[in-house]
Amino acid sequence: MTEEEQTFTCINCPMGCTIEAVTRDEEIVEIEGNICEAGEQYVKSELKNPTRFLTGTVKVKNGLLPRVPIKTEKEIPKEKVEEATEELENVELEAPIELHQTVIEDIKGTKVNVITTRPMPEKE
């Protein structure tokens, strides 16, 4: 049983609590520094399966602007972020584009969709 002391910065909200946790085999034994439950949840997930939102842009054809921003609908495993970003390179959407239009389904096997985060009208 290896006990480890680790420090985390929670990314859930602007407070960014510095959380100190004592872990034993990836289970939390002691935790302090978080001002809410979400902090504890965050540490749990960082230990077992760290996840992040992915945001970026994809190319647009005939739109008011040449790029449209996108995000993953939910957090995806942190280690998949880089390959997910690479997959975005091949996308080109044609305007008009809707808000929350699906861009890629189940990106890199994460079961999470990539959607647009704004509408994009056609170029005048």
């Binding site: 929670c10 602007p14 407070m15 842009t57 921003p69 972020v81 808000l99 985060t117």
Partner: protein, 418 residues
Amino acid sequence: MDVKLAVIGAGPAGLGAALAAHEEGIDAEEIHLIERDVELGGILPQCIHNGFGKFNFGERMTGPEYATHYVEEVEDAGINYHLNTMALDISEDRVITAVNPEEGLMRIGADAIILAMGCRERSRYQIRIPGERPAGVFPAGTVQRLINMEGVMPGEKAVILGSGDVGMIIARRLELEGAEVEGVYEIMSSPSGLPRNVQQCLRDYDIPFHLNHTVTEVHGDKRLEGVTVSEIDPDTFEPIPGTERYVECDTLVLSVGLIPENELSKEVGISLDGRTGGPIVDEERETSVDGIFGCGNVVHVYDLVDDVTKNSELAGKSAARFIQGGTDRRVENISINAGNNVAYTVPQGIEKSNEEPVEVFFRVEREEENVKTQAVVSGKVIEENAKRVVKPPIMESLSISRKDLSEAEEVLIRVFEE
């Protein structure tokens, strides 16, 4: 043309204010948003990362989503807006001179004006970095626009000066786009931006972060070739001799401070607060010129768009009541002052006599732990909050009730350590 309400700037502040004024009873046709960009939304469309609307919407939206929400509400309400329109001038009797390609030069006389022009970035010259003036030096916001909206990269190997949120977010963006970020250099002893950005933008990407450092020279005649970075003495901010290091890079991104966009405010003669760079406002967000209100980053720079929206709704409501003739004009004269470890407060004063509580926003000057933030009137603490930690990047607030203010001339906001 003559309108009831003109709002200059259609970012989250302007949009929120226009909607709030409408909700308070001003007809949509009588509200005009004046926006210099090609679309509504202000700075939000280029802020493609999430972290917006946490408090207002209980979810972690991206900037464009937050903007889209309010833009759709404005369009559904039928509020007017003028795009590609630059406000050139405001007169004291509230006539705006503005220009755009379709309508040409316009004069818009308004019963009330809300200033919501946001802020601009400090340049390299304002912080006096010596050296040459090659291509490849950019403010962080310009880089953000270039990458996220134009789809072009500023360079391949970047040094970032300043750990403001924009700088850190751009560091991550550059790495995701295949550029190398050699490091983030911050002159203060602690990060300027939010801790979560230090984690998810710098640590997650193994980007070296150097506190107590600055760039002391820029090298390169045509294109940036490198910068000299030095450690600084935290008491004097002077570079420590012998700590200079040459860093090869082709891009220098500057995230060294935001300043309220106060050109128009100066032109109309509004009193400005030297500490914020923005107009002095009262609890209704009215400036020193009757009928001209201010909200959002043009008053002082916010970290959270949620707070911008909150303040803009207050300004919108107040402007509507001014138009309707319902507010008491300036009868009180209670100044709100910054006490121990408080850099500034917004509002800077209370001037109206209605009954609503006043929420005072403020920033601390330095980080402290286990303190109380307090509002003090005539030596008595009328409101306080226990805080485990306060730090400059995170804005604080205290809500003061009116009954505590009778006979008061001053409210002191301070940080109190036991």
